[in-house]
Symmetry: C2
């Protein structure tokens, strides 16, 4: 199997995680987040709707994969793990009321001699449910279970050169998607057909490389749903003289390059032009402030001050760390651009600066994906940061 990263890069990631484990007194890490499976082993399948765990001991460089029997094939195909480290559970454990895959995971922990150790759990991993945890707790009475939180996430926050390449490629894909949207939008076109065109462009990617699905569908703020950040489209025809907010991402080997633009169909009223101008101004100023050594909250403060001149306050954060994404979000949940986030920017950190504004009856979304360089930032897309008008 072709891996998207060298064996050395995977090994370095494992070591970085183990260093943090040692610092936090964690003997064994139970990884549950699909993106962390991918980051640490290359594991790449849509199997996370049944419980699965990746077990990493502080003193072994090779994790153990535990998942559903039918998906063991994917572990063999997509990871560097030896067969002995692929330990599937039978299908009778899938969605069964009287037994649970975490019993099998606990069995592996016992067999490996870890049942009395300190086990760090990704308690907030999206697919690690309260129910799964209850089964694990019951099955490991002698272990010390602690919340490992975003331990792997904080290792992932600084991207390697290869990861930055994939992010730039994702950016190339999303540029083409937005171009396709602009081309496609016209009065009478059904919202669902616009969505279809976006998806088609997303997978097609470029001549050099194709895309895959993203963590989330395109968010199309159209018509009745213009004022919502996370709506789903309908099959209504697009109406003239209205803004259309589009939040999308290109995805290259699970790396996400997001972008939002508002396309105004028709001639925008002056008040709307002013609103868009204010957003672009704040976005550009905040981007200009990006460089190593600055905190996340300081970047947000630049935006906040700028947009306040227009009498606007954005209640929500203006950005979040990006990189690998599995559903349900391409946000990494570590660093956020918002008050109180004292994360210091370093070269290789990547963000989506999400300066969307949603008001009672309208919205405008013009954003920028970027990563931090030695001296400033590199934009993942070259698309002009502007309101796009199709008159």
């Amino acid at each position: 199997m072709d891996h998207p990263f060298t064996r050395e890069e995977f090994a370095a990631r494992i070591r970085a995680v183990q260093t943090r484990m040692a610092e936090e007194g964690i003997d064994v890490l139970l990884v549950a987040e699909p993106s962390n499976f991918y980051y640490l082993t290359g594991y790449n399948a849509w199997s996370f709707y049944t419980p699965q765990a990746l077990l990493l001991s502080v003193d072994s460089d090779t994790p153990i994969w535990c998942g559903r029997m039918m998906d063991a094939q994917s572990a063999r195909r997509t990871t560097y793990l030896p067969d002995a480290n692929i330990r599937p559970y039978p299908d009778s454990y899938v969605q069964a009321p009287d037994r649970h895959p975490m019993q099998i995971v606990a069995g592996i922990i016992e067999k490996e001699g870890w049942a009395n150790r300190t086990i760090g759990i990704e308690m907030d991993a999206y697919f690690y449910t309260a129910h799964s945890h209850a089964w694990l707790v019951r099955s490991l009475p002698n272990a010390k279970l602690v919340d490992a939180g975003l331990l792997v996430g904080w290792v992932r926050v600084v991207k390697s050169p290869q990861e930055l390449t994939y992010l730039r490629e994702a950016g190339e894909i999303v540029e083409r998607m937005m171009d396709r949207a602009f081309e496609m939008i016209a009065p009478g076109v059904r919202e669902c057909d616009l969505a279809g065109a976006l998806y088609e462009a997303q997978m097609r990617g470029t001549e050099r490389f194709g895309g895959i699905h993203t963590t989330s569908p395109p968010f199309l703020g159209i018509g009745k749903r213009i004022a919502e950040p996370h709506p789903v489209w309908s099959d209504d025809p697009i109406q003239p003289n209205s803004p259309i907010n589009i939040e999308i991402a290109g995805c290259r080997l699970r790396y996400h390059g997001p972008m939002s633009r508002t396309i105004y169909l028709g001639r925008p009223p002056q008040a709307y032009l002013d609103l868009a101008e204010g957003v672009v101004e704040g976005l550009n100023l905040a981007l200009d402030a990006v460089k190593p050594g600055v905190t996340c909250e300081a970047i947000e403060a630049v935006w906040r001050k700028s947009i306040a001149k227009r009498g606007i306050e954005k209640e929500s954060r203006i950005g979040y760390s990006i990189g690998i994404g599995f559903p349900p979000t391409w946000g990494e949940r570590t660093a956020s651009l918002r008050p109180g986030d004292l994360t210091v920017l370093q070269p290789g950190m990547a963000f989506h600066m999400m300066t969307g504004i949603w008001q009672q009856d309208t919205g405008v979304t013009i954003t920028q994906g970027f990563y931090v360089t030695e001296t400033g930032h590199h934009a993942l897309t070259r698309s002009p940061r502007a309101l796009l008008v199709k008159d």
Copy 2:
């Protein structure tokens, strides 16, 4: 806002859930599953990547929605809830290390006078993490928290006439998607371009209604990944003389009509034709056995006996309940067609009979979505149940 169901249908669902709550001694239900939000209120937004809860008391016909501030707009747009029942939390609670949305949820429970009551929690809802639960437990020291399991799921298992209509419409969409795949597949076509064409057809739907995204991407078992059930495509060109397993669904207003077919590009060897014939035979026999009063395990036994004649045993279940789907799966997690599942079929239950076979180096997937009628079953798609050969 146009709702996909009448107010009466929502009210009947709420009452059915409350009846079960009363039977199980649950005073307040904390709903966490996005599909249950949709089922009970119509709530329809991609907001489940931050914690949210729907609180339903046994003695009130109107639930309380709690979610992120920016998504309150979607609650107003897509549900019948009065403004007083929409209780958002501020963005400072999103992915913050020192506070949690479940504190806000607990605050609502207190304010409503439920802090000493028995609260049923959807402990195994996909986005209800162990971490969320720990915060809730800490914030409600006097409540009795119990696992409500699939309480709402078991109400959902029998579909209403309107739900069956949406399922049939989803079936119409997936038929067209598979036709498009057949048309598109040829040696040299990139896998990603096939994926793009499938997505485009999925959203386009029909002239009468469009589609939306499904819970999961198309599963394309192609080339190196032919033997995996849940792979993701690459940008490699499709090779001749190979089977391609396609598992997809059409989605109409969140209702999923799934279908798998294998398209063989080239002339299949006799052994492969025999394998496919065995699968179709078993599938057809099992479908013929479907009628009210029969158990799920009895249906599976028909398949098992049939395929055993070919010396094959399918380790995994051969089907699962379908209906509303939100990521990460269109399976409802209630009834499964497998040994030990004693669920008795009733008119209005819907399933995906998933008779896929994956072997060491190949696979064949020919399946059928259907619902139970008064006398037998109704197939959601009219596509022939056969190996599709494109020579």
